[in-house]
């Protein structure tokens, strides 16, 4: 009899979530389409004010990314809760927080990586300079995993509620604010030619803090939802 290793279990959770997403491709497009549409509406609404557009472009992209992430995070544990596979995930000899981290990683791969790929194009559309686009991508790369990790806690907490959507947003948005502030001030600094290393270090610190700390309350909340 061979017990599976934690590493195997971690890989299996990611692999399962990726193949599930592949079988529901249409749902995968939703947040991406939302992201693109929100950003496209801004130039139309602002008219021919290129200078203004250029100025607020990073903020537009970040807010759109944040809302797109919030949109997709809702389903992180929902289907597992409904079909009983969450019970199986809890009843493994492995640490639940590590498996939670696997689920969040899969969510990040599925929701944030496509946004990261299309964000430079959106930046060009909003007349951003190419070096500022680089900084924007860096902040998205560091910041979006934090959004998924923090969102995971709130999703786990609202799992028992049938209509947890609005409550989820209320719980999560205040926690998203610090990362939004650091990201936009990093891009602002880059636009005015100031060094950005301070902002990026702060964001990396938040990211590592989130990776180590958020899976614990998420796992605890998941266990609570089963009792």
């Amino acid at each position: 009899m061979k017990h599976s290793s934690l590493f195997q279990a971690f890989g299996a959770v990611i692999k399962r979530d990726l193949s599930l997403a592949y079988r529901h491709r249409a749902e995968l497009i939703n947040p991406l389409a939302f992201f693109v549409m929100v950003i496209t509406l801004f130039p139309l609404a602002l008219g021919a004010e290129i200078a203004l557009l250029k100025r607020i472009a990073p903020a537009i992209i970040w807010v759109a990314a944040l809302l797109a992430s919030l949109m997709s995070i809702e389903n992180l544990f929902r289907s597992d809760y409904d079909d009983g596979s969450l019970e199986l995930m809890v009843m493994t000899p492995h640490s639940l927080s590590v498996l939670v981290l696997a689920k969040v990683t899969a969510h990040w791969l599925l929701s944030s990586v496509p946004l990261l790929c299309i964000a430079p194009l959106m930046g060009l559309m909003l007349h951003m300079d190419s070096d500022v686009i680089g900084v924007l991508l860096l902040t998205l790369l560091l910041g979006m995993p934090v959004l998924s990790l923090i969102g995971g806690i709130a999703v786990a907490l609202t799992l028992g509620l049938r209509k947890g959507g609005a409550l989820l947003a209320i719980l999560v948005l205040p926690l998203y604010v610090p990362i939004l502030i650091f990201a936009s001030s990093a891009v602002d600094a880059a636009m005015s030619g100031f060094p950005i290393s301070g902002h990026l270090s702060m964001m990396s610190a938040i990211l590592f803090l989130a990776i180590t700390l958020t899976p614990l309350p998420t796992a605890a909340a998941l266990k609570m939802s089963l009792s």
Binding site: M1, K2, H3, A9, V13, R16, L20, D83, M89
Partner: protein, 203 residues
């Protein structure tokens, strides 16, 4: 298989200020089935959720091999569970579902053998979505067979099964117990399990 023992001391469960059961004691050792009976709402599922560790008993303790089940991870090393829901993913195939279960637990019997045993041979690549309720139940049973844990906890395992499948299920339960396994189950149906193996709790 080593001898294992599950012991409950003075368990009680209170829900909505109603006492579902209290001062519940039992000892279940290898080679025994614990059948939990009771009317609807008597607390069968609540007891099962306490035994799976999802819910803390309002009073009393549970011991697995004489060790208090506090940190559930060692206990889960030895436990397999089928709940009201089968815990299967609709859009994965039968084989993918089992492979995932094995990756989380342990790899013993091959998946093909397990599917063959529950009469689902040839369904390896069928999506669970297209299976009947009874077939899903049997696939969940195959999960027990291919992860090979000593303690099985089954919540109403016979729902949506036909007569032949119930018989099959009972055969596997008996065989598992004969090999030194332990089974805890709730059931509305009269079971045909050998009475010498069965211990009953009436809530």
């Amino acid at each position: 298989m080593l001898t294992k023992k599950l012991e409950a001391r003075n368990l009680s469960c209170i829900r909505d200020e109603r006492v579902l059961f209290s001062e519940l004691n039992f000892v279940l050792t290898s080679g025994q089935v614990l059948l939990i009976e009771g009317a609807n709402g008597a607390g069968k599922t609540s007891l099962l959720r306490i035994l799976t560790g999802f819910r803390k008993p309002d009073d009393g303790d549970l011991f697995w091999d004489d060790l208090l089940i506090d940190d559930t991870q060692d206990f889960y090393q030895d436990t397999a569970y089928i709940g009201h829901n089968n815990g299967l993913k609709d859009t994965l195939t039968a084989e993918e579902n089992l492979r995932y279960a094995q990756a989380l637990a342990s790899i013993t019997a091959t998946i093909d053998d397990a599917l063959e045993q529950v009469g689902l041979n040839g369904y390896q690549d069928s999506l669970v979505r297209f299976m009947s309720a009874g077939q899903r139940r049997r696939l969940a049973l195959a999960r027990l067979l291919c992860t090979h844990k000593p303690l099985w906890i089954l919540d109403e395992p016979f729902t949506s099964l036909d007569r032949a499948s119930i018989k099959l299920f009972e055969q596997f339960i008996t065989a598992h117990v004969m090999q030194g396994g332990l089974v805890i189950m709730t059931s509305h149906h009269d079971t045909q399990l050998p009475p010498s193996l069965v211990q009953k709790i009436h809530l």
